[in-house]
């Protein structure tokens, strides 16, 4: 079952094509990564999904159909640029925002209390939002996103401005929500966060989808024909190895066509090399990202 179905959407701002013929689906109950460099069009896609902008072409189905006012109550959205009323007390701000999501004020007040306790903000509930630190405001924004217990959560750069402790707390929270069956779309340019949390991704660049699918499958697709070897001594000449490059504390061996990793391992053992590490060279998402986004020979 899909929570979001995007089909061939496009959006321009003047001469700039912000989103160009993008299609993807988000399955119910998954954590989906929306990746791309700054200015790639991630936020525009989110705004199109939320019906803040209208696409010039294509179709968008959210939670089983077009966006509606009623569906807004089933979706939680945390924008990249945080948006909370600055001049009112934190508790009042959160209760009001929850009430606009259809939560009764008395229920909202109770839930706000629970969340403030959980996020260590209870002592600050009567402070004006502008008096809170950036990290506290970030946590408050997450509370505002989740208070109405949405089925679909869209978070845009959820870890920006957070220290490692709070980053871990947010990751745990997203995993908890996912275990409860909440669908999460996470937009970010921090690849390692996506690797930790997401099963499937869409990578966009200059408004166009450049990679889409399961993370493991994408990694395999970019794996290349190489192994990483760390040995106690210098590596000897090995048959079937075309090139040897330093890779952190290891050596990256590019294999000739028709040579398998097992054959290389066997050669190493046969030649009496003390192998400390041997693994198939799987690219990180960062590496894939750079390879995809930067053209061959580009800077």
């Amino acid at each position: 079952m899909t929570s979001v179905e995007i089909s061939h959407i496009s959006k321009s701002f003047g001469p700039v094509k912000a989103v160009d013929d993008v299609s993807f689906e988000v399955e119910s109950g998954e954590i989906f990564g929306l990746l791309g460099p700054n200015g790639a069009g991630k936020t525009t896609i989110i705004r199109l999904m939320l019906d803040i902008f209208k696409p010039e072409g294509g179709s968008i189905a959210i939670l089983g159909g077009p966006m509606s006012e009623a569906k807004k109550e089933r979706i939680g959205y945390m924008p990249e640029e945080r948006g909370l009323y600055q001049d009112i007390p934190l508790e009042r701000c959160l209760v009001y925002l929850a009430s606009l999501k259809g939560v009764k004020p008395e229920t909202a007040k109770r839930q706000v209390g629970d969340y403030l306790d959980r996020f260590d903000l209870a002592a600050h509930k009567n402070k004006k939002v502008k008096e809170l630190s950036k990290g506290m405001q970030q946590k408050a924004q997450i509370i505002a996103t989740l208070l109405h217990q949405p089925e679909l959560v869209i978070v845009d750069e959820p870890f920006s401005g957070l220290d490692p402790v709070n980053t871990q707390m947010i990751k745990d929270l997203l995993r908890d929500l996912n275990r409860q069956g909440v669908t999460i779309i996470m937009s970010t340019h921090q690849m390692h966060q996506v690797e930790e949390l997401c099963e499937r991704i869409l990578l966009i660049d200059q408004g166009r989808a450049v990679l889409y699918g399961e993370l493991d499958g994408i990694r395999r697709q970019f794996m290349g024909h190489a192994v990483l070897v760390r040995a106690a001594e210098e590596l000897p000449q090995l048959p079937g190895v075309e090139r040897v490059e330093a890779h952190n504390a290891s050596q990256r061996l590019t294999l000739a066509s028709g040579t398998s990793a097992q054959e290389v391992l066997r050669s190493l053992v046969t030649q009496g090399v003390t192998v400390e590490q041997f693994e198939i060279a799987v690219p990180t998402l960062d590496e894939i990202f750079i390879r995809v986004v930067q053209p061959e020979g580009g800077e």
């Binding site: 705004r47 939320l50 019906d51 803040i52 902008f53 209208k54 010039e56 006012e69 807004k72 109550e73 979706i75 959205y77 924008p79 640029e81 945080r82 948006g83 909370l84 009323y85 600055q86 009112i88 009001y96 925002l97 009430s99 606009l100 999501k101 259809g102 505002a144």
Partner: protein, 404 residues
């Protein structure tokens, strides 16, 4: 409660319970009271309370009758008779008296008296001497005739259709439209200023984006406008209640206040003109707020809408002297000047009903037009962080590309 009403209640309570609103609400009446007290104090301190002398050659004041006490803030002046002008002159030079009157032998025939002073005595002292002479002259008359003669002429101007009348003791009625117009302008400027500032702030700090994932842009905009118009009317109602309380107390002390009559027609016309005008200005302020990036820039642009509201005061004399003339009628049809012009005219004339209906229709249509502009500007400008929205885009950009 629906989301629209939640926005209305939030916007209302957020502003009404703010210190700046309460300060604005109370500062205007306190300022008026303060100015009134200052005026009274200045008069009291300025009035020379030394006695006034008189030399009566006519014999009229041989047995003077005490005149009635003057109305506050005037204080009673003592009158001292002198047998001869030399005596009065000596007292004047010795600064024992502020002035003296000389009534000649033929005073009863000529009604002419001479006033001698080193500097102009107060108007109150002269009035009190006239009252003394009048009371003495009428002493032999029956009380009813005395009272009637003291009252003088009663001039009442009545409209041809008999629906309105004004007499000279009701001069305060002429001032009422001015005060009503001022109160309306202050309430409108302050609350619509808050509204524009709120729109700019919410747009620039991205609160707008969060709100739009909960409510529609129409709900948000309409809720804000209705909430702020309610704030403005709270201001007007509180001021109105304070004025009524002041009048009820003041009428015990002042004939002019006791004579003040507020016609239901005047109130109805004022309310009917103020409501659409308020909505119109508030909507235009939303539009301005959505197109700019800073509140200060918005205030400068908003002056295009707010300055014309004051224009009728520049032509007060022309409007009052010819309330159904082309200028007054023209200003009644222009939406920005109508809210002040209509009550001003209603205070001094009877506005033809068909003309009034047309004026109010123009105002209502203008308010609806302003709401349409605000809706377009709001939708197009709300997510343009740090960017200005050109006004021509509001009118030229096709609506289908914008979230409804």
């Amino acid at each position: 409660m629906g989301k629209f009403w939640r926005i209305v209640v939030y916007e209302y309570s957020r502003n009404v319970f703010r210190r700046r609103f309460l300060f604005g609400l109370l500062s205007i009446p306190l300022l008026m009271v303060g100015m009134g007290l200052l005026f009274v104090l200045l008069i009291r301190n300025d009035v020379d309370t030394r006695p006034v002398g008189y030399v009566d050659r006519s014999g009229l004041l041989a047995d003077p009758v005490s005149p009635p006490r003057p109305d506050p803030p005037d204080r009673p002046v003592e009158f001292v008779p002198y047998p001869a002008e030399q005596d009065a002159e000596a007292a004047l030079q010795a600064e024992q008296i502020q002035a003296y009157f000389v009534l000649g032998e033929d005073y009863l025939e000529t009604s002419r008296a001479e006033l001698v002073s080193l500097k102009q005595p107060s108007a109150s002292a002269q009035d009190q001497f006239r009252a003394l002479v009048r009371a003495t002259l009428l002493a032999s008359q029956p009380v009813a005739i005395q009272e009637r003669l003291k009252e003088g002429n009663h001039l009442t101007v009545r409209s041809a259709d008999g629906s309105r009348e004004v007499n000279e003791s009701e001069w305060l009625n002429l001032l009422l439209p001015f005060f009503a117009g001022f109160a309306f302008m202050i309430a409108m400027f302050t609350t619509s200023g808050y509204l524009m500032q709120a729109v700019v702030e919410e747009k620039e700090n991205r609160t707008m984006e969060v709100l739009l994932t909960s409510v529609s842009s129409q709900q948000l905009m309409a809720g804000k406008i209705v909430g702020m118009v309610a704030v403005g009317w709270t201001q007007l109602l509180v001021w109105g209640a304070l004025v009524i309380a002041a009048l009820l107390i003041g009428r015990n002390y002042s004939e002019s206040l006791a004579a003040l009559r507020v016609s239901p027609g005047f109130v109805a016309i004022s309310v009917a003109a103020f409501i659409p005008s308020f909505v119109m200005i508030a909507a235009l302020m939303v539009a301005v707020g959505a197109t700019v990036t800073e509140a200060q820039e918005g205030q400068q642009i908003a002056s295009i809408f707010t300055l014309p509201v004051v224009i009728p005061y520049w032509f007060t004399f022309q409007i009052l002297s010819n309330p159904n003339g082309p200028l007054a009628v023209g200003l009644s049809f222009f939406p920005f000047t109508a809210p002040v012009t209509l009550p001003m005219r209603a205070g001094v004339t009877v506005i033809p009903i068909e003309q009034l209906a047309l004026n109010l229709a123009v105002l209502t249509l203008s308010a609806l037009g302003a709401l349409w502009i605000a809706g377009r500007a709001f939708r197009l400008g709300m997510l343009r962080f740090g960017q200005r929205l050109p006004w021509r885009e509001i009118f030229t950009r096709p609506g289908k590309r914008v979230a409804q």
